[in-house]
Amino acid sequence: MNLIKSEIRKFTSTAVWLWLLIGTVILALLPVVLTLSFAGQQGRGGQPGLPKITSPQIQTFVLTGPTSASIFVAILGVIGITAEYRHRTITPTFLTTPRRWKVIVAKLITYTAVGVLYAAVAAIFVVLVAMVWINAAGGIFSLGGDNWKVLVGAALSTALYGIVGVGVGALIRNQIAAVVGLLAYLFVIENILRSISSVQGVYKFLPGGATQAMTTYTTLPGTDNNLLSPVQGGIVLVLYGLLFAGLALVLSTRREVS
């Protein structure tokens, strides 16, 4: 497929991919390092703390690491489309391929694949760090039980954000506005929605809630589990991906290129 080859060349011919990959790995490792550092400590005011580092439970938390990198995968998708508008390379792109939907489909496929790749790299780092750390502390790290499902769920949900990114980029063609909007949504708006009890029923259907659902098999004692099942979460996230993909297609093929 020529257009995917073209997208891959666009992607690899600037340094953006490397910086975002480094960012992805760092962000994925951050919760792993924090969780393992504070393992076994009691929370303040009698709040439940984290389980012991040697407990099997902690491994399921640690393995959700890749999801925290989903923002970078989404930004990757955003840049994949907004960079074309920002530098107006969308003109030669659409001149070469006037059937614009093909370009958008190629971008969606490319950035889903890139998302899978980044999530896989993040997952490998997470597993390596967790394994070395936990085993050194006397625990036994294992990908058995639900652990592998957590890891796969985390990686898959992260990969799906690539599609979301392309959709957001097509919607908000201004690169900075799109990235800021995405960050604001994921870090601020979703957290607010999650903390307001009257709309908590909505949160589980939002991308963040669905992502969380995909990696939640056990919960800390005493916390609410108002989430969908992992498979339902995956389906919701795929639907979001399709929604944004559809948005990207409709918007990019109708709008004028100036």
Binding site: N2, L3, K5, S6, R9, K10, S13, T14, A15, V16, A83, H87, R88, T89, I90, T91, P92, T93, F94, L95, T96, T97, P98, R99, E256, V257, S258
Partner: protein, 321 residues
């Protein structure tokens, strides 16, 4: 729609193209044809609607009404756009991507062999700078990269929007030679400019637009043929000569300063008539109006910057070349 297919002619047909942005009409009922294998200049002052028209032909902007075809089909229906039409619009590239990688991106998308990338870089003289980031290119190098992109598919039709913009005199010389070379290979070329002089030596015919409307179309020879030939005569008493001319039925007019302006009669012949009628002449000269003058007349006061009642300078000679 599928019954039409690419006829391979290289002909560009623009049919009643109109583009409105709200209450502003950028292009109004524009029709013209560019014949296969010819170089046509697309002339007009800044803001006349040249770029908008080209962008509509290329399917980047949607016309409000009207249509255009290349090889008998709308641009987006071309079987292989990149090998049929090459376009240079404003130079667009990612500043962090090298010139060579920029071309490789579009070679991949158009299914063109990568060897072609180095070939076009060589053709436009960018081989040395090929692996540098395009963001560091000079204006001239950017234009060359734009041309290289257009030539990537070895297209039969070229659409160039102000390709000489920002080029230094040497670059313009190079561009002229290059375009003549490309035209010599039988390509159809439509090249826009706001300066007639810039393209006068290169084009066979011109399409002149102003305020989004066609004002003139024809070959350079046709345009030159329609220029009026006039002679200015000055002297203390021209009445005898005037009678002589009247008898012969030559149209003439009295200028404000008392000079006589005679149309369609060779200057030498007027000299002979003056001698015959014993008229003392203080001045006898051809009032040369060239294509540039005509272009200026046609588009006068229709540019972006002209005020409503601004009087044009009749001595205007066009561009700064």
């Amino acid at each position: 729609m599928a019954q039409h297919s690419d006829d391979g002619s290289g002909r560009i047909v623009v049919n009643s193209l109109t583009k409105r942005y709200g209450s502003l009409t950028a292009v109004h009922d524009l029709s013209f044809t560019v014949e296969p294998g010819s170089i046509t200049g697309f002339l007009g002052p800044n803001g006349a609607g040249k770029s908008t028209s080209l962008r509509m032909i290329l399917g980047l902007n949607e016309p409000t009404s009207g249509s255009s075809t290349i090889n008998g089909v709308p641009y987006h229906q071309l079987a292989s756009p990149i090998t049929t039409v090459g376009a240079v619009l404003d130079t667009t590239f990612h500043p962090a991507r090298s010139g060579r990688n920029h071309l490789r991106v579009y070679a991949a998308a158009g299914g063109i062999d990568d060897n072609r990338v180095d070939a076009v870089l060589e053709q436009v003289g960018l081989t040395k700078a090929a692996r540098r980031k395009a963001g560091g290119y000079s204006l001239g190098m950017r234009q060359r990269l734009g041309l290289a992109t257009a030539l990537l598919g070895d297209p039969q039709v070229l659409l160039l929007d102000e390709p000489a913009n920002g080029l230094d005199p040497e670059g313009i010389q190079w561009l002229r030679r290059f375009l003549r070379h490309l035209a010599g290979q039988g390509r159809t070329i439509l090249i826009s400019s706001h300066l007639l002089q810039e393209i006068e030596q290169t084009v066979d015919s011109v399409v002149i637009i102003a305020k989004g409307e066609l004002v003139r179309q024809g070959t350079l020879a046709e345009l030159e043929g329609s220029l009026e030939q006039a002679t200015i005569v000055r002297g203390p008493d021209l009445s005898a000569l005037e009678r002589e001319l009247q008898q012969a039925g030559h149209p003439m007019s009295q200028e404000s300063d008392g000079a006589l302006r005679i149309l369609n009669l060779p200057t030498a012949q007027i000299g002979e008539l003056a001698f015959k009628s014993h008229t003392i002449l203080h001045e006898l000269r051809a009032d040369k109006r060239d294509l540039e003058y005509m272009y200026f007349q046609l588009t006068e006061g229709k540019g972006d910057y002209s005020g409503a009642n601004e009087t044009a300078d009749p001595a205007y000679t066009g561009g700064e070349l």
